[in-house]
Symmetry: C2
Subunit: 227 residues, 2 copies
């Protein structure tokens, strides 16, 4: 569902955004919008954001964090699997419970699994999943190989969630991964950072800065990304 060099904005249904800003994001050179977040995600706020986004031509994807907020109609669904979660509830049990609830209603051809490696120990998602974030390069590369070669997942998502990560790590990952597509998210708030991380990751995600400094968010779309 995502291929080639990609820039995506991630919008949080629990955070308000003005109509004019939504229009600017959706008519920018970005490749698409991911709808997802960690706290306060509901069916209602997801639907509200979805209805506003669907007026534009950009592809919109739902990244699923709460089974009861799943909404039909998205162009695709991204299912995070937290490889370094310390709480088994957040490895398979949330997915198992969602599959139990929705069973045969799920259109798996629209779903893709992201092997998440959460690396910012101060993020909400690290706290909720009890992620083991004190990892050496070798540890992280081993998780990436597990996702790429053992599980054959389509995506590996390096998540620094609000903090800019380590470009050297991304470079090492790019060389270690054989088939999966590498996604990077965290702290991208300038064209230079977008350029740097997209040298290694096929997809970069710009999220928090949208809510912190809107002009900087728009500036992360560099010429190379324009469709």
């Amino acid at each position: 569902m995502l291929s080639g060099k990609r820039h995506l904005f991630k919008l949080d249904p629990a955070r308000p955004i003005a109509e004019g800003q939504l229009e600017q994001l959706c008519t920018s050179g970005t490749h698409g919008i991911i709808v997802g977040g960690t706290d306060g995600i509901t069916y209602e706020n997801t639907k509200f954001l979805y209805e506003r986004l669907r007026r534009y031509d950009k592809p919109i994807y739902q990244e699923i964090s709460h089974a009861d907020a799943i909404l039909s109609g998205f162009d695709g669904y991204l299912i995070p699997l937290v490889l370094n979660a310390g709480n088994p509830q957040w490895i398979f049990q949330v997915h198992q419970q969602a599959i139990k609830q929705f069973g045969n209603m799920i259109d798996w051809s629209k779903c893709q699994v992201e092997g998440y490696i959460i690396l910012n120990e101060r993020s909400k998602v690290a706290s909720i999943t009890e992620a083991k974030t004190s990892l050496s390069y070798e540890d992280i590369l081993a998780y990436a190989r597990l996702a790429d070669q053992m599980l054959k997942l389509p995506y590996i998502y390096i998540e620094y969630s609000g903090r800019y990560g380590d470009p050297l790590l991304l470079r090492k990952l790019k060389h270690a991964i054989r088939n999966a597509s590498l996604i990077y998210g965290g702290g991208i708030n300038s064209e230079a950072k977008a350029r740097e991380m997209s040298r290694y990751a096929e997809t970069i995600i710009v999220g928090n800065v949208i809510y912190e400094n809107f002009e900087l968010a728009l500036a992360t779309i560099c010429d190379d990304f324009i469709c």
Copy 2:
């Protein structure tokens, strides 16, 4: 690596077996031998059993439980992923540590992941992995769909480990699974039980009875299975 209706014997490197018995197993109508177990598995006892087995023509597979017992030369490697483990150490961390240790030496083309669902709460493997075994049919079907449709694993392994399981569950699983191949192991000690479970599972595994009543183990190979 396993396809069609299959009967396999599982031999435990930590348990002694007489040469004559090994020959009878390896010249029987079984499709192959899996080498693996839970307790006391070492490189040395795995190698000892492998060397004795390789004289015969049957395919031999190693089911990996201890990274330091991995031996090159097997026809294939089966990697258990315990979907209903309660201890996250036994979901991804053991695999991650093994990949960290062996890195690029692993020939992934010879490896296949088995999505294990452990259902005998009294088994050693349930105790070690802290498996959540009190599951309804709906819970088990959801784990199976997770393995089959979300993770797209090649195998789903229903493990009753020493106890004969529920044929109705296997029937439900057969109907729910789209792509994965279903493996059943546990308590098969007669032709009737072998026949019953192989109606639903593509592969049946005969293990403990080899050590408890050898003649009954041989009797699990019914005509349908003869190569």
